[in-house]
């Protein structure tokens, strides 16, 4: 790894940081109180992001975007991680799986998505199939030349704003020595398509205003033109394109942890008890030391994983380690920040209780901590026959 950021990368960081501080922070309390992002605010964030050339900056120059490297994109996401996810959803970063679009899908889905004209959501999880993606029940059967889809997806982030969804569906089953194994196909489905409904999901303790929705498919008829990638090739597109999304979780955790840390550091340096700054007590100062050490470690682990992707090196284990460590680090850091603040840390006069709640989901979505540990350990042990 080449250590250190280039001047451009430093500027990307400082621009996105100022954007988040000036365009996202001021609306956070409103979103937190109401659980909604007003449409005008969403539209304004989107417009400014497009004007700045940051919209869909994870997409290549061949489709008119910035073509940032994985490392650079991780830096963008890290700074966005400081701000509300509900709001920075409109600092659009469409799913890069859309690069698998072919033929007329390019003009119908890929280009409108990167231009900010249409928004997407990605649906894998079902009530009965979370970590075990392949256990999905949502299925499609052939009828004439079409597919007829039935089933339910839940926990689908951003689907309330989506003009179309990218959905994974079982399209058959193979017998293998280990038992039956589902074949999966990825489809593009437009909002409002007959047989497809998007309805409110559950209320989450994390990231108020960043909703999760339930998708229902009831004899939803789709032609082959809606297949993203190949029929039965859902796992291939998933593995090719969704591999890197865990870096996003990791790097956002780092950004948020730095924001939280600044509160804790400031409080330790100003709050007085027993006639002195509480930062003078080792019980407090050592917590500060542990926090920053873990944040820096998570930052480097994450950027190193992104750098491996840029170099075309295998990175599955490294990405899993980054996601695991950064999300668990954020839980410890938000908890410690509250501890340093004493009773005030719990009160909603400070945003710390929010950061602490928001941190909780990071160890669950995009693969739970257990699944990341599974990936890491299998990567090492499988090679040794264990």
């Amino acid at each position: 790894m080449q250590y250190g950021l280039t001047e451009e990368q430093e500027m990307i960081v400082s621009t996105v940081r100022s954007f988040v501080e000036n365009e996202i922070y001021p609306h956070e309390d409103l979103v937190e109180r109401t659980g909604e992002v007003p449409a005008e605010i969403a539209a304004e964030i989107k417009r400014k992001t497009i004007d700045l050339g940051f919209y869909a900056c994870n997409f290549p120059e061949s489709v008119g975007c910035a073509g940032l490297s994985h490392l650079e994109f991780a830096l963008v996401e890290r700074e966005l991680g400081r701000g509300s996810m509900a709001l920075n959803h409109f600092f659009g970063r469409p799913q890069n799986i859309l690069m698998a679009c072919q033929g007329e899908q390019i003009e119908r889905y890929l280009m409108p998505a990167v231009r900010g004209d249409r928004m997407d959501a990605l649906a894998m999880t079902e009530p009965g199939a979370g970590s075990d993606v392949r256990g999905m029940k949502c299925s499609a059967r052939r009828d004439g030349g079409d597919w007829v889809v039935n089933g339910t997806k839940h926990f689908i982030s951003g689907a309330e704003h989506a003009d179309f969804v990218i959905v994974f569906v079982a399209t058959g089953e193979d017998d293998t020595p280990k038992g039956p194994k589902k074949r999966i196909t990825c489809f593009l489905v437009d909002r409002g398509h007959p047989g497809f409904t998007i309805r409110d999901g559950y209320k989450s303790v994390s990231h108020r205003g960043y909703k999760n929705m339930i998708l229902e498919f009831d004899d939803c008829r789709l032609p082959d033109a809606q297949v993203l990638g190949e029929v039965d090739g859902g796992f291939e597109v998933m593995n090719t394109w969704l591999y890197a999304t865990r870096i996003t979780v990791a790097t956002m955790c780092v950004g948020r942890a730095r924001r939280v840390f600044d509160y804790a550091l400031d409080y330790a340096a100003t709050r007085e008890q027993f006639g002195q700054k509480i930062g003078k007590f080792q019980g407090v100062s050592f917590q500060i030391a542990d926090m920053i050490t873990e944040i820096d470690a998570a930052d480097l682990l994450t950027l190193a994983a992104a750098d491996r992707l840029d170099k075309g090196l295998p990175a599955n284990r490294e990405i899993a380690s980054a996601k695991l460590y950064a999300s668990e680090m954020l839980a410890r850091v938000t908890d410690a920040a509250i501890q340093v603040h004493g009773g005030m840390g719990l009160m909603d006069d400070y945003p710390l209780e929010r950061f602490w709640r928001d941190a909780r989901v990071e160890r669950i979505w995009d693969g739970t901590s257990e699944i990341q540990r599974h990936i890491i350990s299998r990567d090492l042990l499988r090679a040794l026959g264990a």
Partner: protein, 252 residues
């Protein structure tokens, strides 16, 4: 017309400034540095003049330590066309005083022949508010300070100035020096395409000696102290409570 914009690298306005233990100045070690906010406004105004077809080229110039190159890159990423770095010190704690800066700028002006110098009214580190005025005297050019509105019309500029108790509009002959105030405009963010382009834009490096200017400090800092701490505020629940608290404090 060329527009010359001097930009200074200063301690970031968000940083909580700490006075050095010996009182000799402010601690700059490991502190985030950024472009002086008033200079950002000057750069923004220059770019707007260019976008409006009133200027052909925007040149940013910074005088100080080598690291001021980052500040110039920011100016280039905002949209300046090229940059000149004048290295005048290798010690981040040495401030180049307004007279030395004005002398170097005067030399740059002679070389570049801009029609307009747009500068911040002051730098937020030392709040000198002197460089633009000194430059005007050295060049014998007109000046308009504290601009909250700038209009360039042929051989003159119309500038609205923020003065005590109101606004004053004056007309000055070009070439001129305009120092900008806070309300002139809202500087843009550097766009991603411009960030990527910034590296390719020319950045010339010079030294103070190239211009024959002696930057040895003429001022000496006697003492630097923290501002007096303000007592924490309180929250009141109602107007009645506010009134009674004010009475308690003997303020009404």
């Amino acid at each position: 017309m060329k527009v010359l914009v001097p930009v200074k690298r200063v301690i970031d306005y968000n940083v909580k400034v700490r006075v050095k233990a010996d009182g000799s100045g402010v601690d700059l070690a490991n502190v985030k540095m950024s472009m002086n906010p008033f200079d950002e406004i000057a750069i923004e105004e220059a770019i707007r003049l260019k976008e409006a077809g009133k200027a052909e080229e925007v040149i940013a110039v910074s005088i100080g330590v080598k690291q001021a190159q980052e500040t110039l890159r920011t100016a280039l990423a905002m949209g300046a066309d090229r940059a000149i770095l004048v290295v005048a010190s290798d010690d981040v704690h040495q401030d180049i005083e307004p007279l030395a800066v004005a002398k170097i700028l005067a030399a740059v002006v002679k070389e570049e022949q801009p029609g307009l110098v747009l500068c911040g009214k002051q730098a937020i580190d030392n709040d000198m508010n002197a460089t633009g005025q000194m430059l005007s005297a050295l060049l014998g050019w007109s000046q308009a300070t504290f601009a909250s509105e700038v209009g360039v019309e042929g051989d003159h500029a119309v500038v609205t100035r923020e003065v005590d108790g109101g606004l004053q509009t004056i007309k000055v002959k070009m070439p001129t020096i305009i120092s900008v105030d806070l309300r002139l405009n809202e500087p843009r963010y550097a766009s991603l395409p411009n960030i990527m382009k910034a590296k390719k834009k020319p950045l010339d490096e010079k030294t103070a000696a190239d211009y024959g200017v002696d930057v040895t400090p003429r001022l000496s800092v006697v003492k630097t102290t923290e501002p007096a701490a303000r007592a924490a505020g309180i929250k009141v629940g109602s107007v009645d409570e506010l009134v009674s608290k004010l009475k308690e404090a003997g303020l009404v």
